[in-house]
Amino acid sequence: MKKDRRDFLHMGAGFFAFNPVDFLARNLCSLSESFCDESEGVENYLLFHLAGAPPRWLFDSPLQPRKSDKRVANPMIVTTFSEKEFNSSRDVEFEYRSTQVGKYLMPHLWSLPTSSSVTYQGQLSKLLDHALIIRGTRMGVDGHSINGRRLVAPNPNGPSITGLLADRSKKDLPAVGMTGSQYPVHVTSLGAFRSQKANSLILISKKSPDYFQELFHSFLEGAKGSQAEEELVEAILSRRDILRPQTVKARSQVKGLLKKDLEKLKAQYKKRFAKYEKIILESKLRRDLKGLTDKAIPGFEKERLTHSDQDNASFFLLDDYFLGDRDLRDALLSMELQGLAQQMALTEFLVVNGLSQTITIDLANPTKLNLDSGYHLDDFDIKKKSFHHKTRQVKIKEGKPKTFTFDSHGSGLIAHHLFSGIFYYTFANCLIEMTETFKEAKDKGGKNLYQKTLIHLASEFGREPRPDLMGSEHGFNGQLNTFLSGAIRDFKIIGNIFDTNKGTPATYYDIGTWGEGAPLDFFKRPLVYGNIASSICAMLGIPSPTPKDPPLVKVAQGQIETLTEECENVIA
């Protein structure tokens, strides 16, 4: 039937060269507010971009959601240290263990207790109370930059999702972005911001010492004169015919912001910042996290350099260096998650005070790890076949391994598991604190802020473990998206993955279950990022920049519901 109406319009509309119903339906919202699905959709969109694409097998990538799902093991895809004591580096072993969260099995990390500074005391799995994980999106091309930008701008010729939200927003600082990763802005999702109405992204640099100051300094110190003077200025400028109408409106908003006790807001921000700083500090120093930091992890001993048995030697690699000779947990003592406390604090502040509609946060990987003892790969005389020399040469000063990066091409299992494990633990704690805070904030209609906010955890792609276990490569056909929102009824996982990859394009063949996207019955093909983008837009009640890729969810009576079948591990 719909098709008939469209054809009729084609015949009648003369010079239209496109489908007018689509065009109108897409643009109705921007023409008149009454056509927006605003009451149905979620309002705020927070994107946490894990730039560099760390492997998420130990975090939110569910490779075996049910016991009956087929999972082909890979020595690099593990979720916990094994339970036995490690007396020497040779003893270090890993396992793949899961824990029950709702209907599904999730990696072991979710069974850990929340940090003691977090308001909610219990298990980390609390975060997944209202969550939707979509597995197996095929990005189709490799590249941090291309895929990072696609996360918000899936159609390079159109506006970005963040731009569309800013255009529709009535808030004062509609779109805010915070840098964090080592990538320059223009290759990240921050640089992909594009609006149709000359809105721009307010960018806060990770180098800024005080995010609140950076954002509001225009309105703070120096903006105000004496009371009498300000009043006189206002009295004159608000007279008819002196300023143009929209300027009057803009000034009244400035006045509104200035009227708000900025000192009080500043104090409020500082409280939040202190709260997150505490959570982060505590999380990274915990020595009782089962399977992660609850026992000493001996580093690669010097004596092993001369032996020929190198069973688990690859575990200790970090970019051409073997992490040596001490309890590797000590590396965490000096670890810094640059800017994370400010990012979480400012995000919470902006959402709770209704100042922003969309916030994009570029997360920094752990830095300042204490990694000063190591042995260079070249020192080895490796005869065993499974241990290959890498083909690339990285020139690093003797003895000091590079900082751990999310883009873990050269991270052996210990570096990856320990350092990103602690990062995920810390990050999850911060998210629980934030979401619980949102739940407390109720509006007049009885809805809480968490129900009006959509949190999206994404990276550019997944990762494929190398067969030589010396790191992982870009798994661009297995991208993962995790959504957290009070509007999601409970915990759901959708999206299919292959049990092992036997088809191209992929970097490796038959390396087990790592998350490569498999076809869905719903579409008769695997997911592409356009589907994810359309799903995000469906949840937010805005038109999708990729309307030809249908969404996987719909919003009904304020609740987000999935449209596709249950998740499945497809036999390749």
């Binding site: 098709k3 008939d4 469209r6 054809d7 009729f8 084609h10 015949m11 509309a13 003369g14 010079f15 239209f16 060269a17 496109f18 489908n19 065009f23 189709g140 091309v141 490799d142 590249g143 941090h144 930059s145 291309i146 390079p156 010729n157 159109g158 009535k170 808030k171 004062d172 840098t179 080592q182 990538y183 320059p184 223009h186 290759v187 640089g191 143009r244 109408p245 929209q246 409106k249 803009a250 009244s252 908003q253 509104g256 708000k260 409020q268 709770v352 005070n353 209704g354 100042l355 083909t391 040469q393 020139k395 805070t437 407390e440 904030a441 509006d443 490569e473 008769k524 093909r525 030809k548």
Partner: protein
């Protein structure tokens, strides 16, 4: 569906029957012969033509003055040599027009002069409005074009105050200060500011300026300046002998001439913000591959882009930037060892035809294909290049054909999902079709820089093609596709309704097509209108717009018709600033479409 079709056909039949009973006038157009043809062969169905004068045909987009090939009325005639879809008169209505009749119409259109840019209604909008004085007009164009406030003692201002010049005339004199005809470098400060501002404007039209497409292409920023694409337009603006259409012809690219007090030492773009030290240019040997134990490739004496203030534009010198070698990397990531090396000695500034369409920079920015991967005509096609052409040069977003046209390209048995459904084919036939013209190109790396990975340069390489074509234009994916001779499908309906669906064999052919399309000129005039007045015209909303917008649309159409005729961006600017729109201080401010922000509701946050 059937019911609606039946109703429609009934209407047509009634129309056909009804037509013959009423008396018909001869249209009062400028050619008697053409009027006769219209009366005898067209009025039976197109009854409204009898009341039309020349300008009525122009207003409705049926005729482009001086250009029969671009005119809907002429191009849709069976027997005309237009290359567009020819359906008139319909087969049911009788024989096609005779060659003499076609010629009569052709001559009529050729002789029509472009209209004056006056739109009567625009005058009435400004009546009683707050008008700018001559000095204020000059102050306005000065501020807009130089982005600098007009000095109080400017010589031209004095002349205006003495009554010797009007504001518009002073603006014209100002524009002359950046002339590139005699010399590539502009010497006056005002002239340079003019070039810089319009360069900025032209650059904003390109949807893609980021040379970093996939991993390890940071070196590209040091040897390519994306602004050089905008230079095609800026050069045409300030060089009176460079027609606008020349942008789509030839193989010459353009470069900005920059001046600085000293040569730059470091890289322009940092590839990592955490680098404590910026990279020094002199340590960077592009394409020399001198690593210990590796093969040594011929060094590349590339001149990195100089930085500094823009002071001029010139055609890029030939044979100055020769790339000796490229590597055939089959894998996405760089693995040079054991890979085939191509010794090409390629001039990286030389275009591939079709002017800006084949500009190596435009190709590099828009191909968006993985390094070393060739097109296969199915999944892997440089689609972004095609969509950028429509968007950047014609202000058109896909789809550019109506959905019924897609039906003939649907193949339900295709393994590719986007060949199976009409709504997918609707876009893909235009995108994939045009992209067939650059099927032979791929992007490859030059050789390792010697400064470590991540910093390579990538370039366009053309593969040698065979003589024969066997794969279909809209195929399912075939390795042979990229080795076949370049050919593409142009599937495009202009805003005026002219439909084209034909094979094109070269970038030059595509360039000629764009240079003759009304969409291109309307796009240019719309953008200049925005820059000069802040009016953002919706070119698609012509039929659904209110009175004000329809008038603006007509104004833009006249600007575009004139632009197509005189081919001068400078004249376009003069047309706009001479209009009442430019003189009105609050030009159409009362239009309802100005969006205003409403203050947000603040709740005290206590948590």
């Amino acid at each position: 569906m059937r019911r609606t079709l039946a109703a429609f056909l009934t209407l047509i039949l009634l129309g056909l029957v009804g037509c013959q009973e009423l008396p018909q006038k001869t249209p009062s157009i400028s050619s008697v012969d053409a009027a006769k043809v219209l009366k005898n062969r067209c009025l039976d169905c197109h009854r409204d033509y009898q009341n039309f004068k020349d300008e009525d045909f122009i207003k409705r987009g049926l005729v482009v003055p001086g250009k029969p090939q671009s005119s809907f009325l002429y191009a849709s005639l069976r027997n005309s040599d237009s290359g567009a879809e020819q359906t008139m008169p319909p087969k049911e209505a009788g024989d096609p027009l005779s060659p003499e009749e076609v010629l009569a119409l052709k001559k009529w259109i050729e002789k029509i002069k472009v209209p004056e840019v006056k739109v009567v209604e625009l005058e009435t909008f400004s009546k009683g409005g707050d008008l700018l004085s001559e000095a204020e007009i000059f102050s306005r164009c000065y501020g807009q074009w130089l982005r600098s406030p007009l000095p109080r003692h400017h010589t031209l201002l004095k002349k205006i105050e003495e009554g010797k010049l009007s504001g518009v005339q002073a603006c014209k004199v100002l524009l002359n200060k950046a002339s590139l005809e005699k010399e590539a470098i502009v010497n006056s400060d005002e002239g340079r500011k003019l070039i810089q501002t319009f360069q900025s404007l032209h650059r904003s039209w390109f949807s893609e300026l980021n040379l970093y497409n996939t991993d390890e292409q940071w070196g590209n920023f040091e040897i390519y300046d994306p602004g050089n694409l905008a230079a095609y337009f800026t050069y045409s603006l300030f060089h009176s002998k460079k027609d606008l259409a020349s942008i789509f012809r030839g193989k010459t690219s353009y470069e900005l001439i920059r001046k600085s007090d000293a040569r730059r030492e470091y890289f322009i773009f940092p590839y990592q913000e955490t680098s404590a030290k910026p990279l020094k240019l002199k340590n960077f040997s592009f394409g020399s591959g001198e690593e210990k134990g590796e093969d040594v490739y011929p060094p590349w004496k590339i001149r990195p882009i100089p930085t500094g203030e823009i002071v001029g534009i010139r055609p890029a010198p030939k044979k100055r930037d020769i790339l000796p070698t490229m590597v055939d990397t089959r894998k996405g990531q760089k693995e040079f060892h054991g890979q085939r090396v191509y010794h090409l000695n390629q001039d990286i500034r030389l275009g591939r035809g079709g002017g800006i369409l084949g500009d190596p920079l435009f190709l590099l920015l828009n191909m968006k294909m993985e390094i070393g991967k060739a097109s296969d005509g199915g999944k892997r096609i440089p689609r972004k290049w095609a969509t950028s052409i429509f968007k950047d040069f014609m202000c058109r977003d896909l789809p550019v054909v109506p959905i019924p046209r897609a039906k003939k390209y649907i193949r339900k048995d295709s393994p590719l999902s986007f060949r199976q459904k009409a709504s997918c084919v609707q876009c893909h036939m235009s995108m994939d079709g045009i992209a067939g013209l650059i099927r032979n190109f791929e992007v490859n790396y030059s050789v390792d820089s010697g400064l470590g990975r991540y910093i390579q340069t990538s370039h366009i390489r053309a593969r040698k093609s065979t003589k024969t074509s066997a794969t279909p234009i809209l195929g399912d994916g075939d390795e042979k596709y990229s080795l076949e001779p370049a050919r593409g499908l142009l599937a495009f309906q202009s805003r005026s309704g002219l439909y084209y669906e034909r094979e094109v064999a070269s970038l030059e052919e595509l360039g000629d097509f764009i240079a003759e399309s009304s969409d291109f000129y309307q796009c240019m005039s719309k953008r200049y209108l925005y820059f000069l007045t802040g009016i953002n015209l919706d070119l698609d909303g012509k039929d659904l717009s209110s009175g004000h917008e329809r008038v603006l649309w007509q104004f833009n159409q006249k600007l575009a018709l004139r632009l197509q005729d005189h081919q001068s961006l400078r004249q376009l600017i003069e047309d706009i600033i001479s209009s009442p729109l430019y003189r009105d201080r609050h030009y159409l401010q009362n239009m309802k479409n100005e969006k205003q922000r409403e203050p947000a509701q603040y709740d005290e946050a206590s948590y």
